[in-house]
Symmetry: C2
Subunit: 374 residues, 2 copies
Amino acid sequence: MTTHFEVLSASSEALARCGRIHTPHGVIDTPAFCPVGTLGSVKGMAPDDLEGLGVQMMLSNAYHLYLRPGHRFIEKRGGLHNFIGWDHPILTDSGGYQIFSLNKLTKISEEGAAFQSHIDGSRHFISPEKAIEIESSLGADIIMAFDECLPYASDYKRTAASVDRTLRWAKRSKSAHLNKKQSLYGIVQGGFFPDLRKVGVEGLLEIGFDGYAIGGLSVGEPQDEMLEVLEQVVPTLPSDKTVYLMGVGRPEDLVEAVWRGVDLFDCVLPTRHARTGSLFTARGEINIKNSRYKEDDQPLDSDCACYTCRHFSRAYLRHLFIAKEILAIRLNTLHNLYYYLALMSGLRQAIKDLTLSRFRKTFYELRNTASPLS
Amino acid sequence: MTTHFEVLSASSEALARCGRIHTPHGVIDTPAFCPVGTLGSVKGMAPDDLEGLGVQMMLSNAYHLYLRPGHRFIEKRGGLHNFIGWDHPILTDSGGYQIFSLNKLTKISEEGAAFQSHIDGSRHFISPEKAIEIESSLGADIIMAFDECLPYASDYKRTAASVDRTLRWAKRSKSAHLNKKQSLYGIVQGGFFPDLRKVGVEGLLEIGFDGYAIGGLSVGEPQDEMLEVLEQVVPTLPSDKTVYLMGVGRPEDLVEAVWRGVDLFDCVLPTRHARTGSLFTARGEINIKNSRYKEDDQPLDSDCACYTCRHFSRAYLRHLFIAKEILAIRLNTLHNLYYYLALMSGLRQAIKDLTLSRFRKTFYELRNTASPLS
């Protein structure tokens, strides 16, 4: 069965909705958050950890896996699912974002992007066709068209040219997409210019994709600018297709984006923050390194039911982190991912119960911050 | 209930025996291997991982925990079991080995050992009384007397003086041992001189301990020298007390030491080797970094039922290790500890079945090496 999206229920107060993405490797309940397994593992987490957390889909990076260990290598190992022991849905991005963010010497032509590996400086060229070939070899359930990503505050002229190129690349990505077991999503670009986002949406709709992603956000802009883009773009996308906000974001970004109709997210934030000791709680983020937690025998978050919070004190978590014990990363990551997944689960339930507005209010009350644009 | 030892069955062919150590936190089936949680965590393993592996007791280091986060600190947190979330037996060593191996500027007097912290250079003094105070604060089920550890190939005169001092320290350790919920084990020293080992044993027996450890081995000597010490010492220890071989060792050391009547082991080898990619299999050790495993789709050890071997290929494990993914350490550690625990379980079963000789023969046949001193 190929991947398709099913809308189950919608909020009465907002564009938020619950749905299900059906894929050859299982179902994803939306709105959903995907942890990032850059190199074929969500850092510190084995597949059974992710299953225990209720993760339904992970994201992996075509760019990173192309460089190391190689997409053909993974194809010979039976594809990414088999290679990494994850028998559930996987989404791969096309590498566009990484090529433009990790490589200073990237040269773009109409044909594609020439770049040097951030690992060994070796030279590579990725075209839309090559990106789809890589993603086909990896064999993810959902794959992304190849796009150009601009830095924040790029000017109008550059952004306009980039949107047009991204659309031509989207068309070539679609033509190269032969493995119909994989869903292909297009990526809306256009920076922070409403008319260019409109061009981005209309161009993609003309080509036609299995789902639509919004790219070029969470690149350093204030949250209100990101939300304005969502408010403009989401209502113009087909309501029977998944809306995926790439690389976002903080808990408050997820709440606001779900409110505005986004179905799918990925972000390195919970896993990366775990490795720096930044831990998410209903009352905001805390850094476990802080000396105020040295003799704190309370759990990290007394309202949290994760393995870490059920078994360990802040004092122990701080000791592990300060002593550079590997277990610190594991326990912190388990907690942060649990927090993100519980947040998504809470959002889904609130949409079904038609109580999203109250959920959102409580979310900000607990954090003692005001809701943005509310 | 205080800790005590119960012999269940003995081998008909050797000094090997099965037993049970009863402690306030549960039972340890012997011969047993204890993973090492230097700083209050077995590196990369959460308590539920260790439980899943069947670990019955872990070892922790009084020296390391005294320096960081401090024994009084841990006592205030309800003791080590509570602090680290491990509700099963713990053994702490007294710090003797670490003080003499990690610190070049250690100064020994009759009173104790003055040393500088290997972390920040701060000055400390640990006497037998202080060591027992630290271990009492930590609250392990089994604690060790304070001893002096000599480097390999120390001469007769130095070793003789050290054995005498270790015995005087053992007596002071015993006098300082007031918390009778904790078992106190004495440590036999004496290097590689049979008459000095005899002095070490007789002196300890005169004082009387809940169990007897053999120290000063696995310090760089060839295996046959270690086994000669065991062959001399073990038969002279009381048969109703645990015999603990400290800091040992490789799989073949465990097999030979069990054969010679040792009940208890601890060693950093399986966990440390995991972090360098050295993995134990029934057919010997392999290093997963090796390029021969690059395209090897077989499990690490097809005879192994651990989580790692049931789910992943050598090619994936090598990829994770080469890419420096944290998951590599976790999967490697799970495997190596599983190997050690399965080896101990196999030895226990063979003793009960009176088939230890055959077990030992098969062990060497699979590795394609000869049994030492057989």
